[in-house]
């Protein structure tokens, strides 16, 4: 106590007053802190009545935290007041918002109270529960799974059905449009084979050979039409084709050129009769549409007509020794006397009437297919000639025609040269020549065959050559004797059969020309047979000899049927043998004759000096038998 002075402790609140202003002389002007009421107002303003109860608690907590500020915040309340004055200009009182909110809350509470009181009476207002879905009873988990699966499957099925429906719709659409599209594809196929062009609204095609060089004036146009008689409801037939072709009426059916050679000329009254013989149509390739067969048949008819027109034109124009007869659909000419060649155009249409009448069938063997084929080839060759590069002029301004003919002007060809350039033969002449050759060849063959069968010896052999010309064939004829082919090689004839003549070349170089007469050839061949006899024949005979007797000048060989005398000097002096019992194969006519001279006369020696004979003989003496063999050359 003595000396510790009391310390003066000054207590100052932490919250200092805010400085409002600092004067120039350093004095500070302090803001008056908010009074308690001002502070409360400030805090009340900060209450947000719209927030929920949770936030009220926070607010309450916040309000409690602010409580210690109250004392010191009295001074700031004024400031806040001023601020509040600045913020809430419409209401000057800071408690205004609080009051409004409370009032509205009161209003709402009153309304609620009123409603509830009315509802309680149940007179004017009732409360109805909001219908709720009844809670499903508790079920097994499997059934639940099943139901859920069913639902999901149903959903998937729906999607699939929708897709399927779309597809079927497009398919039916396709079916309907199928006709339209198929016509176009068929038309495309048609176009690959035939020339088509569009004229107006029609589609026309060209069947003729004009673009291939033909000069026939037929138009050859066909029309392509759409096949619309189709019933969609009924089943579409298998061979239905949306495209149909209409060919010109004169080209319907099928045709061919019949070429036949007849021996005897028929009566004049028979001429011109329709000698149709309906040839079965050539089988069309499987898979080729029906319009293709139709068009091909029509084109064939056109070609046959052209061939026949060309032939008949030539038959009338060309002068020949025996004029050709052209009657209706037949051309008759006589290549050889007593021979008749008839070329006819057989055109049979498809309708039933003509089929009935064509029952009378002419023998199809009459028809020479080779000549028909050749006619087709010749007319095609003629077509090609028209279009060949020889015909097409270079330069393009030169006139049409054969190349050499074009040059004949500038090179001053005279008449002989011009004639040699122009082909002189027409179709008819060529065909007649070919027919003549065929006939001559077949008759030659028949002659040779008949001679061969008639005459047994000597034999005649014919070797026909495989490679022949249209106008020429050749055959090699050999006349031999059986067993002596190697010796008799001299009769070899080469026959060259031409159009009207047969030329024979002999082995020794002689050339003989025979005419077409059959008899001439026969006589000639027979003469050759006789020539064959003039040939050297070497014969070997051997006899078993029973005994030998050797004499001074001769040797006697006793054989079974006779005796053979052989001279020592190896000269033949006599021979006897019995004709009938000796079995030696005689194949030569000469030996038949020779044997006729010999008789078996046991008492006589037969002199062979009437024949020239050269001989040599051999003998082989064995222990028991002597075989005597000798050769004789007989010449007649």
């Amino acid at each position: 106590m003595s000396g510790v002075r009391a310390v003066r402790i000054s207590i100052e609140s932490a919250c200092e007053k805010q400085v409002q202003e600092v004067g120039l002389d350093g004095t500070e002007t302090y803001l008056q802190p908010l009074s308690m009421s001002q502070n409360l107002a400030r805090l009340a303003q900060r209450i947000d009545f719209s927030q929920g109860s949770g936030s009220e608690e926070e607010e309450a907590a916040g309000a409690e935290g602010d409580a210690p500020d109250w004392a010191g915040a009295g001074a700031s309340a004024d400031q806040d007041d001023e601020e509040g004055l600045v913020k809430f200009q419409p209401s000057l009182w800071p408690w205004d918002s609080v009051r409004n909110n409370l009032r509205s809350a009161l209003t709402e509470m009153c309304v609620l109270y009123d409603v509830l009181s009315i509802v309680r009476d149940k007179k004017f207002m009732t409360l109805d529960p909001v219908s709720q879905d009844a809670l499903p009873p508790k079920q097994n988990p499997q059934t639940l799974q099943l139901i859920s699966k069913k639902k999901s499957l149903a959903g998937a099925a729906q999607i699939l059905l929708k897709g399927a429906e779309r597809l079927t719709k497009s398919v039916t659409e396709n079916q309907e449009n199928k006709l339209q599209r198929d016509f176009n594809s068929e038309l495309l196929r048609l176009r690959q084979h035939w020339k088509l062009r569009k004229v107006g609204d029609k589609i026309l095609g060209d069947l003729s050979y004009r673009s291939a060089g033909s000069l026939f004036p037929h138009h050859g146009t066909f029309e392509v039409i759409k096949n619309t008689d189709i019933d969609l409801d009924k089943k579409i037939p298998e061979d239905y084709c949306p495209l149909d072709v209409q060919i010109p009426s004169d080209l319907e059916g099928s045709a061919y050129i019949k070429v036949s050679i007849q021996k005897q000329a028929p009566d004049i009254g028979d001429l011109g009769t329709v000698n149709l013989f309906k040839r079965p149509l050539p089988k069309s390739k499987p898979g080729s549409p029906h319009w293709q067969t139709k068009l091909e048949a029509a084109q064939n008819v056109l070609l046959c007509k052209e061939i026949f027109a060309q032939l008949s034109r030539e038959a009338v124009q060309i002068k020949s020794q025996i004029p050709h007869i052209v009657v209706k659909n037949q051309i008759i000419s006589q290549p050889f006397p007593s021979l008749q060649l008839s070329i006819s155009l057989c055109h049979s249409s498809n309708d039933k009437k003509s089929q009935k009448s064509a029952t009378e069938k002419q023998s199809p063997e009459d028809h020479l297919y080779v000549l028909e084929h050749n006619l087709h080839l010749l007319i095609r060759e003629f077509h090609k000639q028209t279009l060949s590069s020889i015909m097409m002029p270079h330069p393009a301004s030169a006139p049409f025609g054969h190349k050499r003919m074009r040059l004949s002007g500038p090179q001053a060809f005279d008449k002989n040269e011009i004639n040699s350039l122009q082909s002189s033969e027409g179709l008819l002449e060529k065909i007649i020549k070919q027919a003549k050759h065929i006939f001559l060849r077949s008759r030659t063959a028949a002659t040779i065959d008949s001679l061969a069968s008639r005459i047994e010896d000597p034999q005649i052999q014919a070797h026909w050559s495989n490679i022949n010309d249209v106008y020429e064939s050749s055959v090699k004829v050999l006349i031999t004797s059986q067993g002596y082919e190697q010796i008799c090689k001299s009769i070899q004839l080469q026959l060259n059969i031409g159009v009207e003549q047969i030329r024979v070349v002999h082995r020794d170089g002689r050339v003989i020309t025979l005419s077409h007469q059959e008899q001439e050839l026969q006589d000639f061949l027979l003469s050759q047979f006789v020539m064959d006899l003039k040939v050297a024949v070497r014969l070997w005979f051997s006899f078993p000899v029973t005994s030998v007797k050797i004499f001074q000048k001769a040797m006697f060989y006793k054989i079974a049927n006779g005796v053979i005398f052989v001279d020592h000097s190896k000269k033949f002096s006599g021979i006897k043998w019995k004709v009938g019992t000796l079995f030696i194969k005689w194949s030569c006519l000469c030996l038949h004759l020779a044997l006729a001279y010999y008789d078996f006369f046991p008492e006589q020696n037969f002199d062979l000096k009437c024949l020239q004979t050269n001989y040599k003989h051999k003998e082989a003496i064995t222990s028991k038998n002597v075989y005597l063999a000798f050769e004789t050359f007989h010449f007649i």
């Binding site: 074009r406 004949s408 060809f413 008449k415």
Partner: protein
């Protein structure tokens, strides 16, 4: 290909007309043994170059002759006086129509010879009457020797043959032969000879009734 042929003019005999002389000749040939083989015809048209193309040169236009010969039926010959000879197709006539601007046809210039042809072994003799318009102006004789092609080789033979039936009227060797003795003879040379013959005949006004040339 050319056969030798020689064209000459046969003067008309005294006191006779052209026709009679021709008949005389043909009879001589037939007695000789020649056989008649149809007819022949050689004609000639003259063109001269158009005045428009001459320009300032002032020279007379060249004459061009267009000739046809029935021996060469598909050909047409065009030649200048001393110039080249063109052998063409018969379309040449049509071409001349197109060339109207350059070549104009001289009036009344068509001259032709028509007659018969006789074949005597290798010789071909053609005797024709030369006519200009309606009037006969002279006689042309052409002898053709088939096998020979070179001029100089067979001239003597031809001359001898001519002498045999023409008698004393045989002329001398023509200029054509003189130019190209050893060259191959062609149809152009024949036409040149005809052209010269026609020119000669054209120059003489009328057929002299009397008088030997």
């Amino acid at each position: 290909m050319g056969f030798e042929s020689y064209v000459s003019q046969m003067p008309v005999a005294e006191g006779k007309s052209v026709q009679q002389t021709v008949e005389l000749l043909t009879r001589k040939l037939e007695i000789l043994g020649a056989e008649k083989q149809g007819t022949f015809c050689v004609d000639c048209e003259t063109y001269h170059t158009a005045a428009s193309t001459l320009g300032s040169q002032g020279q007379a236009g060249k004459l061009m002759y267009v000739m046809h010969n029935s021996e060469y039926p598909l050909s047409c010959f065009a030649l200048f006086e001393n110039g080249p000879c063109l052998i063409a197709d018969t379309n040449f006539d049509v071409l001349m129509v197109k060339l109207k601007g350059f070549f104009q046809s001289a009036k009344a210039s068509k001259i032709e010879t028509r007659g018969t042809r006789y074949q005597y072994c290798d010789f071909l003799v053609k005797v024709g009457t030369v006519t200009m318009g309606p009037s006969a102006r002279g006689i042309s004789v052409e002898v053709e020797y088939g096998p020979c092609v070179v001029a100089s080789d067979c001239w003597s033979l031809l001359l001898e043959f001519l002498q045999s039936f023409l008698g004393s009227h045989t002329p001398g060797a023509p200029a054509v032969f003189g130019n190209r003795h050893d060259a191959v003879y062609g149809p152009a040379d024949t036409m040149v000879q005809y052209m010269e013959l026609f020119n000669k005949i054209r120059k003489q006004q009328q057929v002299p009734v009397a008088g030997i040339r």
